[in-house]
Subunit: 411 residues, 2 copies
């Protein structure tokens, strides 16, 4: 059985994802499509629109065979560490190929760029370090470091977000899983940051914006989403009364900042360079997440960086635990969220040769990486009404989702 890995957030699963899934399957001729998916919090430092179980189920119902969780520690990081976590996880599942979406769409250009990168890595690292020390954001510093070794003038424009991410995958595959074949599919009909829905393939950003603005499944949103995703979103909202976003978390985040000493704040991952003083001052006057963000925003602290920091404050992720975890060169477990019959068969096959445990539920292991996941899940559920909150927390102790048919909705 041949397996292809996808690195995803599915927030939520839409027709663009379906296109990517189908193209990847065709391109790699894989029997089993494996998604490593972010859990409760996403790369841009935001809560996912629904819990990971619902998102995993929607993906399985749209043709993914196996969904595993990207540990939260890596899921809320810049592209290089995000990719590292994803590749380390997929490697343990013995994938043959990885297929990512990119603006560019030509894998040779990525691998050639990666060769250049490896040749000039020292120069790159020096520029990156210099850029960060000068107070630039990671994307800015990386972009100018890429420029310094000629990687923005070449075929792959490393100023585009999905190219940057794709380039990180290629680099991390070279580092940790050189046996895996990298492929890419060109993204169609939308830009990563598109804010408006302009076709049935739209960016997740624009779909979320549409859903959250109206608080219901509009015709426009429905246009972009497979039926299974539509049902999932409606069920979740019926059950919980919400689609998650930062506003719900503001009371908890605010409470946390205001009951932490500056000493405590400095211990949180990514609270750096005296930010704790600004944080305390701004938090005292903020009446909403928006006000908190606007009070904190500077050229140096991008929106994404601040949102990640707030996620770490909310989830209580410390520098002390983050540093060794982000330096791992091998993932200590793979957490299975759900599978169909194909996924189950594949798992059965690879489990024999696996040298890390494949786990279902959060209490099977006493692992620092898993403890971060547990706290992130608990923080995520904290906004839910009673008694649903306790039910969702209990869900973390249940076996993974199994769906029996290999469904494929029509695009």
């Amino acid at each position: 059985m041949k397996a292809c890995g996808l690195v995803v957030e599915y927030n939520p699963f839409h027709y663009g994802h379906l296109h990517h899934l189908e193209q990847s399957k065709q391109e790699t001729d894989a029997d089993c499509m494996i998604a490593v998916m972010s859990g409760p919090f996403l790369q841009r430092g935001e809560p996912a629109i629904t819990d990971k179980w619902s998102r995993a189920r929607a993906a399985l119902e749209s043709g993914i065979d196996l969904v595993v969780e990207l540990p939260a520690m890596f899921a809320i990081e810049h592209s290089d560490l995000f990719s590292k976590g994803a590749i380390l996880t997929l490697r343990e599942l013995g994938i043959d190929a990885l297929c990512f979406g990119s603006e560019h769409g030509n894998i040779e250009s990525f691998t050639e760029a990666a060769d250049v990168y490896h040749e000039y890595q020292e120069t790159f690292d020096a520029y990156l370090h210099e850029g960060l020390s000068a107070g630039n954001s990671f994307p800015e510093a990386a972009r100018s470091a890429y420029r310094s070794i000629g990687l923005t003038e070449g075929e792959v424009d490393l100023s585009k977000p999905n190219n940057i991410l794709g380039f990180s995958y290629v680099k991390q595959l070279m580092n940790y899983a050189p046996e895996v074949k990298a492929t890419t599919i060109q993204r169609i009909n939308n830009d990563y940051h598109d804010e408006n829905i302009t076709g049935n393939i739209a960016s997740a950003t624009s779909i979320r914006k549409e859903l959250l603005r109206h608080g219901e499944m509009t015709e426009e949103a429905a246009w972009t989403l497979p039926e299974s995703t539509q049902h999932m979103l409606l069920d979740y909202r019926r059950k919980t009364g919400m689609w998650h976003h930062w506003d719900y978390y503001f009371p908890f985040l605010h409470y946390r900042i205001l009951t932490m000493s500056k000493h405590d704040l400095r211990k949180i991952h990514t609270v750096e360079e005296g930010l704790e003083n600004r944080l305390k001052r701004v938090a005292k006057q903020a009446n909403s997440f928006q006000e908190l963000m606007e009070g904190m925003k500077t050229k140096r602290y991008t929106w994404t960086r601040l949102q990640r920091m707030f996620t770490h404050i909310l989830c209580n992720t410390t520098v002390e635990e983050a540093q060794p975890l982000l330096s791992l060169e091998k993932i200590p477990y793979v957490r299975i969220l759900g599978m169909n019959a194909t996924g189950q068969e594949y798992l059965k096959k690879v489990r024999k040769h696996a040298d890390v445990p494949f786990i279902n539920q959060i209490q099977q292991l006493d692992e620092p990486l898993l403890e971060v996941d547990e706290r992130a899940a608990n923080a995520y559920y904290s906004v839910l009404p009673t008694p649903l909150k306790a039910e969702m927390i209990k869900q973390e102790l249940q076996p993974p989702i199994r769906i029996h048919a290999n469904n494929r909705p029509q695009a």
Copy 2:
């Protein structure tokens, strides 16, 4: 000017407090009545029914001349430490007398008992230590230690809550302010733990129970409260939509427990003896504060002890900061909450000789004790709706309350 100190919670100020205030004034012939009052959280580990500013104002409107805050670090402790904080604070204000309510009502019996205590202190301490090590609660262990040196058979029955508290005041006066004259007023018409209102002098417990059960000012509750307190309670409820109690704090407390590692929990003041494991387990299934308490309750962990622990978790009070603060032999500041003309005149007089700062607002000093107060205030306000929450947090930076007349309501 002669000053008399009272140690109070005024949760809320009722006719029993008025009686005590008037009797104390008469008994000690004082010109200025000073109340050292608990702030946001109380000795039994509960949030106060309204914020401290409203409670201080009600006290001033009922004849108290000066209200100062008992630092939260001492306010949420067993009788000996609670009393220590109160006496250390009142000492800096140069009081001449202290007058407390007790079941017994005869000061000679207290001072004689204190003499016995000082003579047999080693025996007492050994019994207390033994009782605590055997897993008894502090009140139980103290009661049996008092028994061991004969202090339950004498005139003062040290199994009664207000006698225990009074005895702590007398002991701490001997330790820290032997120049202050101790006096006591016999409590009338009610028992500390009375749950029902049976006269216009009722226990604060029964009054709160009545108010919280009905969510409005009933005739029965009004019977026991001076008009100024009634207005204060109604205004507060109109403004905030609530009278505070633990149920409002449960989402925040629950979130905290579920996003702390066991390692973090062990660092919180009073989380001892492996309690962190039970805490995590019980919290996962609890849907309310009541369920959390019932899941944690054992013979060893009394209701009060658990509530204090939950207050420390909510306010993020660590062992590391608590230990040196509770060992202080001198209070580093006195925080003024409010005064009338008499209080202002008295303050002006004592300020000249004071050897610690008298402060108004929370940012005037960089003191660990004050930081605990700030966090307790912020935790207390966290349940308020926006934008009231930020307004109340700002109140902590304002000058104290001044009322211009020396009012005295009629009982």
